[in-house]
Amino acid sequence: MNNIIKVKNLFKKYGDFIAVEDVNFDVEKGKIFAFLGPNGAGKTTTIKMLTTLLSPTFGEIVINGFDPTKEQEKVRESFGIVFQDQSLDEDLTAYENLDMHGMLYKVKSKDRKKRIEQLLNFVELWDRKDELVKYFSGGMKRRLEIARGFLHNPKVLFLDEPTIGLDPQTRNHIWNYLKKMNKEEGTTVFLTTHYMEEADKVSDKIAIIDHGKIITQGTSEELKNQTKTNSLEEAFLELTGKEIREEKAKNFAMFKNKKFHR
């Protein structure tokens, strides 16, 4: 098996609250993996543990052959990430943001230049490369972040709700970029989203998480067959129930705020 991400018996506890409970999954190299779940299900916490930002309470993670708790730098070199909230430096230009990223990831000056030009053209921002990011729209910032995520040729790209709050045109573009890069460069993509249709369209494999536990995983077809539904959205509701999760998510966020300096 050629699994680039391996997660075994992963737990994350905050006091009595169990944010992630006995999570197990593997992601095959070169595939697009969707990690779906309602608000507060534990998606972002899991991503943080996979990307060295949080240490697990218990369990095993392997990313590209490395352990995020012990070989942080090796793991960090292996992945790119597009966070749920924006993470650009708005006082710098689009080009400078990418250039700085390339320097931090030790991409050589010559390669950096070429790669930045290629990626900025790819996300259609090359002609605005010298503008300060603070004058960009939400969609442009997102595209820039995606370009940045690919800049150092990562083996895995993590995307935490990359299309949230964007218009259908931009969303469509973003999925096209991702699919194209996945195909052309073989980058494994790990994503979360609330747009089931999009997950259905792009992903090779889907895992559904709720209350910190993985309920089921498989291809979109398998999930639909399993729940005897016609769309992934219906399957998702069937599996996770119809009650609204906001309350819980909020409490959890408050708890996190208190305990950990967010």
């Binding site: 930002l53 070199e77 992945f79 993470s87 650009l88 710098l92 700085m100 990223h101 931090l104």
Partner: protein, 248 residues
Amino acid sequence: MIAIYTLWIREIKKYYRSKSRIIGSLGQPILFLVALGFGLSPVFQKAGQGNYIQFLAPGVISMSILFMAVFSGISVIWDRQFGFLKETLVAPVPRWKIMLGRTLGGATVAVMQGIIVFLISFFAGFRIYNFALLFITFIFMCLIALIFTALGTGIASVLEDMHGFQLIMNFLVMPTFFLSGALFPLENLPKVLNIIVKFNPLTYGVDGMRGTLGGVSQFGLMTDFWVLAIVFIIFISIGSYLFSKIQI
């Protein structure tokens, strides 16, 4: 090295681009030079202490460095709020290098601000008598900047948001400035004040600058230098530790 350079140049670019920040933070030093410099000059003269502007200018230059340095350090909080901090925390670079790059950048910016105030003080009547010592003045400026940027970064690493900002201003930055000998001579101070002043690293920075700018150094330049150097090493170590513990 390249990581440290990257974060250093970022601070410089941001400083250079925020003209309002540069000009805005000149207001206070100018006010001090004019109001205190000219206002207290006659009293100072009468007390037999000589020219007050000559005495005050090194203090005001240190003040501008102090403020700029602390603000630069504290910008970690802004980066946390605007998300950019995460980008540097997942980069394959040891945290201490990120901290060091930020600190060097912030300190450079603070020294540049100090140099601007230095130039302005000439208009208020400040004069240099020994140009040969100017280089040593510069070293003291750098040390003040480094110490307080490291301090600001360390504090910002444990703060969640800007709510603690007022606290830092009123209980740390202001007392550091006022209780440093920037405004008054250190001779014949009341006992308690004398002790507080001696525990304040800025005191040695101001003393060193004053010593090299034609005034009299209270502690001796070597003492000033070593106290500052040691405080810097302590602050940058603690700051790096706190920075490396940041969880998002």
